[in-house]
């Protein structure tokens, strides 16, 4: 009894605690904003087999943040075990909780829970939306089963399950069709194109390398693959036709592909590179070099939105992550903040 009361008071005190500073280097705490409109959601995975999934909200001008917006708006409820990604559609946000086998649907302005999708969900990893339907990519590594499950966006009812033969990870939509990346943690070289008119699937294999990341931009899908020597970017049209974009000779193990404002961004180890989308070339020098917080976990979360690069250092999952925000044009550090959870793996725009 006494302890929970103390926690509530503590919570309120933390939110009221104002840490102002003269430089713009740290975000300030404040009383929670009335809505979460016009800002960013930062997804903290939490450790595996621990209920550490948390979402932090950051205002679009980078001045204010609030930790654990889900807990704050849902009676301190624990979100779940491993927040894989956040999907945004209409006025809802879909929190994909991998090891709890559920998708928590919240109102993206108030973050209040609206529904939970669990039917046929089996270790979900990716989510996208097309034609009034929700498509979820599931991969159960222990049972060696993978599928894409489809739901009606209006009432979240289960529609159908498409069995997949390969690992099904990040999922994007382009031109009304769904593309599932058949690669995870840098292993895999296929993308499955699902024609949403009949849910027929076609497997597309990239000619070179193992896929690092896949994104959708202006109705096309772009993917980056690599070897220990070079890397490659490919474009796939909304009807599944693949063409090469650029061969990044001499840049090994590139991943974290992002496209913002017609510019391509990607990383190799802790170096971030950029090139033009329309006339891509092999960059000779990195745009910026992020702090090396460990060989693989540097840039665990990497997104380019609004001309800003959001790069997270997950401190080997032993302490809360730090998100550093750089200017995407100059590569200079703009600000940094603690993400309020372990394993910050992505930043999502909530307009």
């Amino acid at each position: 009894m006494k302890i929970t009361k103390l926690l509530t008071v503590l919570f309120a005190v933390v939110l009221l605690f104002n840490m102002s500073s003269c430089t713009s280097d740290s975000a300030e705490f404040e009383v929670s904003p009335i809505t979460y409109q016009n800002g960013y959601f930062i997804a903290n995975e939490g450790n595996f087999n621990s209920q550490g999934a948390k979402v932090t909200f950051l205002t679009r001008d980078l001045s204010l943040k609030q930790d654990d917006v889900y807990g704050y708006n849902n009676n301190k409820e624990i979100l779940g075990d491993v927040l894989q990604t956040i999907g945004l559609n209409g006025n809802k946000a879909y929190l994909v909780i991998n090891n709890s086998n559920k998708i928590v649907v919240v109102d993206r302005y108030t973050f209040k829970k609206l529904a939970v999708i669990t039917d046929q969900i089996d270790n979900p990893r990716g989510i996208t939306f097309a034609n009034g339907f929700i498509y979820v990519a599931n991969t159960n590594f222990s049972a060696h089963t993978q599928s894409v499950t489809k739901y009606k966006a209006s009432d979240y009812s289960f529609v159908s399950k498409i069995n997949m033969t390969e690992v099904s990870d990040k999922t994007v939509e382009a031109g009304g069709n769904v593309f599932v990346q058949n690669a995870s943690s840098g292993f895999g070289n296929k993308i499955t194109y699902i024609n949403t008119s009949n849910d027929a699937k076609t497997e597309i294999t990239v000619p070179n390398g193992q896929i690092g990341n896949t994104v959708s931009y202006k109705s096309n899908v772009y993917t980056i693959s690599s070897t220990a020597a070079d890397s490659y970017i490919y474009k796939i049209s909304s009807t599944g036709a693949m063409t090469p974009v650029v061969t990044l000779t001499g840049i090994p193990n590139a991943t974290n592909l992002q496209i913002d404002n017609d510019k391509i961004y990607f990383s190799s180890a802790n170096k971030v590179y950029t090139t033009s989308l329309a006339t891509p070339t092999v960059p000779t020098a990195p745009l910026l070099t992020a702090a090396d917080g460990g060989p693989y976990f540097t840039l665990y979360g990497f997104n380019v939105i609004d001309g800003r690069i959001f790069a997270s250092d997950v401190k080997q999952f032993t302490a809360e992550s730090e998100m550093v925000i750089y200017s995407a044009t100059t590569g200079n550090k703009m600000s940094s903040l603690k993400t309020g959870g372990l394993g910050a793996n992505g930043t999502f725009l909530n307009p």
């Binding site: 302890i3 929970t4 503590l10 933390v14 087999n49 621990s50 209920q51 550490g52 624990i78 779940g80 075990d81 090891n99 709890s100 086998n101 559920k102 669990t118 969900i121 270790n123 159960n140 590594f141 222990s142 049972a143 943690s185 840098g186 292993f187 193990n253 180890a269 460990g294 060989p295 693989y296 976990f297 401190k315 080997q316 032993t318 302490a319 809360e320 372990l342």
Partner: protein, 608 residues
């Protein structure tokens, strides 16, 4: 004569407050023959089989309430690991009858998969002990010992308990001995639905059910007055389901079976004793990532151990001890990253003891290992113990200890690192013991410097690899105040302990996660003719769960209280009742894995 006197001295100065008779070495055979010599210089807390019944759920609960070890348990009955003096789980050695039984794959003891019942005594020894007990004995060691009596005739006992959450613990033991032969066998079966509810979190411990079965058998035969041949075996089988936080969570389970066998030939004469032993230990485990499917991963580890321990008294003051050991460690994995590995280890240790007077003694020891694929350091230990006054004893120990990289650390594909060095620790500790009337106060400050801590780090190639990375400083104080009094038929015992543990990662200068800085415990035992009462209290301070000392993620302090009463009729039949977590405290030792609120048990025991 003088030799026997020094050995008898150890029983009178270290005799735990047992209400039973003290036995001399002639009529009791202890498989771990080094334990008696270790007790000459280091305090060892002994928990009898009867005292173990106070915390009969599992070994985690027993260690949590009856020792200074911090136990980190992922839900009751599930994965559990020890932290002795702020060290890691791999830095506590579990020793079964003198044989180190830490998993060769993980390098640590999986506490809830180590049987609780079936031992005659459990010994808790803090501080390094690699010279005698090998790899992992850095923070301390936990000794699971069987003993065999002679000339006792037939004895048997039965223990049966019914407890909350559909928990049943049953134990049966029988023994027979005459002056030449002794035999003892015991069996145990524990099972639990384990679906406890914690309303504070709206939590039900779903998928937490477990069972385990143990069978122990031991025999000893005195071939002649000086030669004895003895055998002890243990068979263990368990199945644990790992709890899920909510109904949709991925349900998994883990099964393990282990066999341990020890054959020992002891030759004892007045001037020397020699113990030759051959032991075989086997661990099998299977992990099921999906309940309805066959195992996802697993492994089998087999160890063949040959050891010869020669102890010689030059005269009543000087004693030297040479131990030679040869081990073959084999491992085979299933979808665990290890295929088939084998490692040969040879080692030699020497100890020299000097009994200057009956109040002052010293010991110096060294150990050198010869291990395939691992550069092993030279280990040493120095101890001195001085009974300075009737009311004051002091001992000081300095030692260098180590822990091998485990099979997973070296051979796992991908990520195993054949260049790994063992973790080494240099430590110094002191024990001050004050005796005034019926009170005894023990103060033990300690300091450890641990280097080359093995950690698994992600690499650019996309997988994790083991590296020697961290440097840690662990220091603190263990203190205990005991009181014991008998007035006619009333027997009263109380003790209180306070443990201060700092474990600092040298790079960040912050307290390492899951090392509570402050802990306290208190125990009371009261006995009057056929009636017994006990109470155990535990206070655990703030425990950080992240490496940045973030208070909002830390586990809040908590206080636990257990109590029990029992009545024994005709010295044979006992009926008892226990309440655990009397104050109904919400607590956890690992984030998000609460432990049970108030729960009860009823037990009956027969001893004849």
């Amino acid at each position: 004569m003088d030799i026997k006197r020094s050995l008898v001295l150890l029983f009178s100065s270290y005799g735990c407050f047992l209400f039973g008779q003290e036995k001399t070495i002639d009529t009791i055979y202890v498989f771990d023959n080094q334990m008696n010599r270790v007790k000459l210089f280091h305090p060892v807390k002994i928990i009898s089989a009867e005292e173990a019944e106070k915390n009969s759920s599992n070994l985690s609960e027993l260690l949590r309430f009856q020792s200074q070890v911090f136990i980190k348990e992922n839900g009751r009955g599930a994965v559990s690991s020890p932290s002795f003096r702020g060290t890691t789980a791999q830095q506590t050695a579990f020793v079964w009858n003198g044989i180190n039984i830490n998993s060769s794959f993980l390098g640590q003891g999986d506490i809830n998969n180590i049987a609780l019942f079936g031992y005659d005594q459990i010994g808790i020894k803090a501080g390094g002990g690699s010279v005698v007990y090998g790899s992992g004995a850095i923070g301390g060691s936990i000794h699971l010992n069987n003993t065999l009596d002679f000339n006792k005739g037939f004895h048997g006992s039965l223990f049966s308990e019914v407890a909350s959450f559909n928990t049943y613990n049953n134990f049966v033991k029988g023994s027979y001995s005459n002056d030449k032969f002794s035999f003892k066998a015991s069996g145990n079966y524990s099972v639990s639905e384990n679906n406890y509810e914690v309303s504070d979190l709206n939590y039900i411990n779903r998928n937490g059910n477990y069972y385990n079965t143990t069978f122990n058998v031991g025999a000893s035969y005195k071939m002649t007055n000086d030669h004895k041949i003895s055998w002890q075996s243990q068979f263990f089988d368990s199945s644990q389901h790992y709890p899920v936080y909510e109904e949709t969570g991925t349900k998994t389970k883990y099964k393990t079976q282990s066999v341990r066998s020890l054959l020992s030939w002891d030759w004892n004469k007045a001037k020397f004793s020699n113990s030759f032993r051959a032991a075989y230990t086997e661990e099998n485990f299977q992990y099921f990532g999906s309940l309805n499917l066959p195992k996802s991963s697993g492994g089998t580890g087999k160890n063949y151990i040959f050891k010869n321990d020669f102890n010689y008294f030059l005269n009543s003051k000087w004693n030297f001890n040479i131990i030679g050991e040869f081990q073959i460690n084999k491992g085979e994995g299933y979808a665990s990253g290890i295929s088939n590995v084998s490692r040969n280890v040879g080692s030699v240790s020497g100890l020299l003891r000097y009994f200057a007077t009956k109040n002052l003694r010293f010991e110096g020891g060294f150990k050198k290992d010869f291990v395939e694929d691992v550069k092993s350091p030279f280990m040493y230990s120095f101890s001195g113990k001085w009974s300075a006054a009737k009311w004051y004893d002091v001992s000081v120990n300095v030692s260098k200890n180590f822990r091998y990289p485990s099979f997973n650390d070296i051979y796992y594909e991908p990520g195993g690192n054949k260049e790994l060095r063992p973790e080494t620790s240099t430590q110094v500790d002191m024990t001050n013991e004050f005796k005034v009337g019926d009170f005894r106060l023990t103060l033990s400050p300690y300091y450890m410097n641990i280097t080359d801590l093995i950690a698994w780090l992600p690499t650019a190639k996309g997988y994790w690899q083991a590296f020697n990375v961290n440097k840690v400083e662990s220091y603190g104080l263990e203190s205990q105040l005991s009181f014991s009094k008998q007035l006619g038929n009333h027997k009263f015992r109380a003790n209180a302990g306070y443990y201060y543990a700092r474990s600092i990662d040298k790079e960040t200068q912050l307290q390492r996660p899951y090392v509570p800085m402050h802990r306290g415990s208190a125990n009371i035992d009261y006995e009057y003719s056929f009636f017994k009462f006990f109470a155990q209290g535990l206070l655990n301070g703030v425990t950080y769960t992240t490496s940045d000392e973030k208070r909002s993620d830390a586990i809040d302090p908590y206080f636990l209280l257990n109590m029990g009463v029992s009545a024994t009729l005709a010295k044979k039949y006992t009926l008892g009742f226990k309440v655990n977590n009397l104050t109904n405290t919400y607590y956890k030792t690992v984030s998000f894995y609460p432990l049970p609120k108030r729960n009860y048990s009823v037990y009956a025991a027969i001893n004849f």
